[in-house]
Symmetry: C3
Subunit: 423 residues, 3 copies
C-alpha cells in the first residue's frame, strides 16, 4: 500500500482534469475490473452543476529581481486549486491577497482551493514568505478552466446475495498522504483481498470519486440501486498514520455499519476516539444526507481537520507509514468478516441440545467450562432469531471474528439456522 501511495504522490490531482485520469489509470492497473467514467462539465447533478475541467501546466511567481520564488515544479500545493490562467505583473499589496501561508506552521505549505469562484493564488511556507521583498511581482499561471469532464471510477464484486457493502474513497487532492492517498490505497488492498475470496456472501461496491461533487455525481447516477442494495458502507479516508483510531458514525448512528465498526474497534483499538456525525467532513455528508440515507460510517486513524499536518505539505509519506496502513487494513477486514456472517440465527430445537453425543461437550462435569464451550453454549442460549450476529456477540461478550468458526460448527450440526431472508 505504501509503495502505491508513493507512486501516486507527485500527481497533480484536483476535482477534475488529467491528474485524476492518470491516478485512476494506475489504480486500474492494480484492479483490472475497475470501470472509469466521465461526466461532462455542466451536467446537472441534483442541486449542482459539474464544474469546468481544470488542468494546470505550470505556475510560478517571479520576484522583482527576476528570480522565481514559487514554482509548482517544487510542490503541487504551491498553486491554489482551480486557479484561473494569469500572466501579468501585480503590485505588492494586491499580491498579498493571493498568497497563503500559515504563521503557526512556518515550514508548511497550506492546501487551498477555489472551485466555485474564479480566483488565482499561491501557497507557500511562512518561512519562505518572510524572505519576499516588496515590489512588483510577475505571476505566471498556465492553466485551463474549460468545458471537459469530471472523472471517477467504480468496481462491483458480486457475492451470493445482492446485499452490498459500499467502500468509497476520493481522488482529488494533490500531494498529501493521509488525507488522501491512504484512502485509495486501502480501497485497492481491500478490493484485491475480496476478489481473492473463494466465496462472498455480500456484494461490494468500491468507488473512487473526487470529493463532494464526485460523490454527488455518482449518487445522481446510482441512487436507486444503492438505496435498494446497500447493507453497510464505509468512507475510507485518513487511514494511514500511526496515531489513535477514530470513529465517525453514520447519521443514524446505529446502523449495521456502526455496530460492526464499534464491535471491532472496542476489541482491536479500545482507545479509539469517538466522534459525532456533527464532526463529519467527507463524502458521508452526501451518502448520509436526508433523501440518500445510506448507512455510511468511517473508521480512521487521525481524523481530517484534527491533526496538525492536515491540509498542508506536512501530510506526507513519512507521516503515513506501512504500519499505520496495516492497522487500518486489519480493522476493515475484521469488520468485513463480521458482516459476511451477520445474519439472524435461531436454534432448531427447544431446550438445550445434547452436545455430549456430538462430541461438543466434556463428559465428566465438575466446576466450570472452557472458553470455547462457554461461547458455544451462550450462542445457543441466546440464538432466538431476534438479533443478528453482532447483537449476539455483544450480548455474550465474544469477539465476532472469534465466534465465526464456532457458529459454522453449529450450522454444520444443524443446531442453528439463519432465519432472515438473504437478499
Amino acid at each position: 500500500m505504501h509503495r502505491l501511495a508513493t507512486e501516486l504522490f507527485p500527481i497533480h490531482r484536483s476535482l477534475t482534469g488529467d491528474g485524476v485520469r492518470k491516478t485512476l489509470e494506475i489504480l486500474r492497473r492494480e484492479l483490472p475490473a475497475l470501470r472509469i467514467h466521465e461526466v461532462p462539465s455542466g451536467t446537472k447533478c441534483f442541486d449542482w452543476d459539474v464544474p469546468p475541467e481544470w488542468n494546470i501546466h505550470s505556475a510560478s511567481l517571479i520576484a522583482p529581481d527576476g528570480q522565481t520564488v514559487v514554482d509548482i515544479k517544487d510542490h503541487t500545493l504551491h498553486v491554489v486549486g482551480y486557479s484561473e490562467p494569469v500572466d501579468r505583473e501585480v503590485e505588492w499589496d494586491e499580491l498579498q491577497e493571493h498568497l497563503f501561508s500559515i504563521p503557526d506552521q512556518p515550514t508548511a505549505i497550506p492546501y487551498i482551493t477555489s472551485y466555485y469562484r474564479r480566483f488565482w493564488g499561491f501557497c507557500l511556507s511562512h518561512d519562505k514568505r518572510r524572505t519576499l521583498r516588496p515590489g512588483r511581482y510577475r505571476v505566471k499561471i498556465d492553466s485551463t478552466l474549460e468545458a471537459g469532464a469530471l472523472t471517477y471510477a467504480d468496481l462491483v464484486l458480486p457475492g451470493r446475495t445482492t446485499k452490498e457493502v459500499l467502500l468509497s474513497t476520493y481522488v482529488c487532492h494533490p500531494s498529501m498522504a493521509n488525507n488522501e492517498l491512504s484512502g485509495p490505497v486501502l480501497a485497492v488492498a481491500l478490493a484485491q483481498w475480496l476478489a481473492a475470496q473463494p466465496q462472498r456472501e455480500l456484494s461490494y461496491r468500491i468507488v473512487f470519486v473526487p470529493e463532494t461533487i464526485g460523490a454527488i455525481a455518482y449518487l445522481s447516477r446510482n441512487l436507486d440501486a444503492m438505496k435498494r442494495h446497500t447493507y453497510a458502507g464505509f468512507q475510507l479516508t485518513c487511514v494511514g498514520d500511526e496515531r489513535a483510531y477514530s470513529y465517525l458514525p453514520s447519521r443514524q448512528g446505529d446502523s449495521v455499519s456502526d455496530r460492526a465498526a464499534l464491535h471491532v474497534l472496542r476489541r482491536l483499538a479500545p482507545d479509539f476516539v469517538r466522534y459525532s456525525f456533527l464532526d463529519r467532513g467527507s463524502d458521508e455528508r452526501q451518502y448520509c444526507s436526508p433523501g440518500v440515507d445510506l448507512p455510511v460510517a468511517s473508521v480512521m486513524r487521525s481524523k481530517y481537520a484534527k491533526y496538525p499536518e492536515y491540509h498542508t505539505s506536512l501530510d506526507d509519506l513519512a507521516f503515513v507509514t506501512p504500519r499505520g496502513l496495516a492497522g487500518a487494513y486489519a480493522v476493515h477486514t475484521a469488520i468485513i468478516r463480521l458482516l459476511e456472517s451477520n445474519r439472524r440465527y435461531r436454534v432448531t430445537t427447544p431446550c438445550e441440545p445434547q452436545l455430549g453425543k456430538r462430541g461438543l461437550y466434556p463428559s465428566i462435569t465438575a466446576k466450570g467450562l472452557d472458553g470455547d464451550v462457554q461461547a458455544l453454549n451462550d450462542l445457543l442460549a441466546y440464538a432466538d432469531g431476534t438479533c443478528d450476529l453482532i447483537g449476539l456477540c455483544d450480548k455474550i461478550g465474544v469477539f465476532g471474528p472469534d465466534l465465526v468458526p464456532i457458529l459454522k460448527k453449529l450450522l454444520d450440526a444443524n443446531l442453528l439456522e439463519p432465519i432472515d431472508s438473504d437478499s
Copy 2:
C-alpha cells in the same frame, strides 16, 4: 407586572366570592377580550360539586379585656379560608383548636383553609399568639357561606392553526405574591405580548381559575375541545422571586411542553432545579390526570412548598420583584418562540445543496467554518423529517431561538420544507 400585582395584593380572594370577581374585573381592564364565567354552587363537575360561595365581611378576635387582638382589616390571612359565620364567646381551651401559628416562623401569619368541612379559625403570628392571655374570647366572623357561584375567566387568541397552547393560572389566594399573584400577572403580560404579534402560528388559551375546583370545573366544560386542540401547556405559578428556576414536568415527562421547557432552561438557566411529577401540586394535577392527559408542565422560580415563605404572610411583594418576574417572562417567551416554529422539516433535494451559488457559503475553503454556517449545514444534514425543530436543535447543539432566523433563510430558499400537517 409588579405594579399590577401590587394593585391586586390586598383583595380578599378565595375559591369563590367577590374577591375573585373583583380580581378578574381588573384583569379584564388589562385584557379586554377576557371572558368571565360563573358556575352555580352545586353544579356537578366530574366527581365534584361546586361548593357554596363564601364571602367575608369582617372577622375579629376580642380579648377578655375588650381589646381586638386579631382583625382581617390588618391582613386577609388572619381568617381561615371558608370560615363559617360565628358570633360568640369561647373558652380559652376551645379557642386553641381554632388558632394557627408557626412556632418556627414566629413573625409569619400562616395561610389555612377549610373548603369542604365547616369550620372557623384565625391565623396569626406566633409572636402575637404568645401575647394572648387565658380567658374567654369573643369571636366575630361575619361571613356568608351560601348558594352562589364559582367565577373564572378565559381568553382564546386564535392563530394560523387550531393547535393550541394552554397557559393556566389561578386566582383564589388572598394576599400572597409568589404563590399566587406572580402567575396571573405573568399570564397578562404574555397575553398582551401574544396579542401584539403580527402573526401567530399557534392559538393560545389563557385561563384564570380558582385552583383545583376551578380547573376541574373548567375542564368539565371544555374537555373535548382541549383534548382535540392542545399542543402544549404551561401552569403559571410561583414565577416572581429571584431564586433558582424550577421545572416540574408533565406526567408523561417527554411532551413537547417538556422538551421546549428543558431546551430553553438548559441554555437560559442551566442551574435550574429539576423536579418530578411526583412533586406536583397545582392545576397540572387536573390537566395531567388520566383521562384528561394534557401535556402541561411548569417552569417556576422558587417552587410552591419548597421555599420558607410559602403559604405565609412572608410571601409578599418584597419577595417577588420586577427582576424575578422579568426572568420568568424571558423564559416563557423563548419557549413560545420555539413552539411557534416547532414543525418537522425535510430537505428538498438529495445530497447537500450548493450553498455557494446562493451566497450561503464562503467561496475559498480553508480550515473550519463560522458558527452560523456550521449551524446551517448541520440543520440541512439532519433535516430528514423524523424529528421536530426542538429535536433538531438538541441534535446539533444550537439554541432554538437562535436557529429560527437560519431556518427561515432556508425555507425562503426552498431548501427546506415543513412536512407535518399543521392543524
Copy 3:
C-alpha cells in the same frame, strides 16, 4: 423447612432411581396433591433420550491390606454418580484416574457425575487420599444401570385465572444442602402457604424434577400448556444460606418475573448481587431457551458455583440454616403477593376524585401530606392503564406489598378499575 431438609439429606439421589422416588414420596406426604410421574428410559425428549436408570446398593474401595478405605455408607458423595458396576482389583496407576479430591479443600469430598459416558470412580477428601499407599486395590461397586424410568412430580394449584406462576426445583443431588435441598423444601413451604390462601388470582405450577434432563422431559410433555399460561416463573435453588442474596434474570431480563424480583429485592435486600443470564446454570437454561421462552428468573442466597462449599460435602445442614431459608421464603412470598395484584389499573373519572367526601383526605390543608395519603394520591395520578402495578410502584417509589391495601381501598371505592383481560 430445615427439619424436612434434615430428613431428606441422607437419601442417595441421582438423575434417576429409587433415591428420587423416595424423596418424592416424602414430599407427597407434605403435599398430598403432588402427582408423581415416570418417563421410561430411552424416551425421546426433544434432542435428548432419557438415560438408563441408575441404582446404587453399595460401593467401597479396599486397600491392599484388606481395609475398606472408602465406603458410601459413610457419605453418598463417595461414589461418582452413574458409576457402572465393578468388582475387580486395579493397579495403583489406573486407580488414580478414578479418584477425585480437591487439593485446595483437603477436608471436602467433591461431587462428580458421569451421566452420559460409562465410567466409575470414587470421591474422597484430599486428606484421606494422602493416607492411601500404593498397591493393588479392590473396587466393589454394586450398581445397576439399566432400562427403568426417570421420576418427577408436579402440582397445580388453580386460581381465579389461568395465568400461571411456575415454581421449579430439582431433586437429583445426593447429600448436599444449599444446592440442592433448600430448593425443594422452599417449594414445599410456598405450596403449603399458597394452598392455604382463601383466594388466589393466579394459578401455580410447582415442579420437582431431576436437573436438565428432568426439566427437558417435563417441557417435552407440557410445553404447549406452559407457553400458553405461564405468566411468571422462578427457579428455586440455593436458597438456604445466610450470605448475600443473588438475582439471576430470565433471558429477556425484563419479564414480569424479573421486574417483580427486582422490585422486592431492592427493598428487602438492597445489597443483593446482580448476575447476568450469562451466569445461568440451572433449569432456567431449559425454561428460557429459544423456542421455550418462559420468563423464569432466580432469586438465590449464595449462587451455585460462586460459593466455596458448592458441589462438595461442605454444602451441608450447618451451611444452610432456618434463618437463611426464612429469608428466601420472605422474599418469594413478597414477590407472589405483588404478582397477585399486578394488573393494569385506570382511574374511573377525569381529574382528581374528591377524596374528602369519602374520608380519604384530611379536611384542613396546611403543608404536606402523610405517607399513605401521598401514595394514594400518586397512585391515582399515574393510573392511566399504561403500566402494571409494578410499573406504578416503581414510578411512585412505593414498595408494592405496602401499596396493595391502598389499591384495594380505591378499587372498593370504584375510583380505580383493572383494564387488562385477566386470563
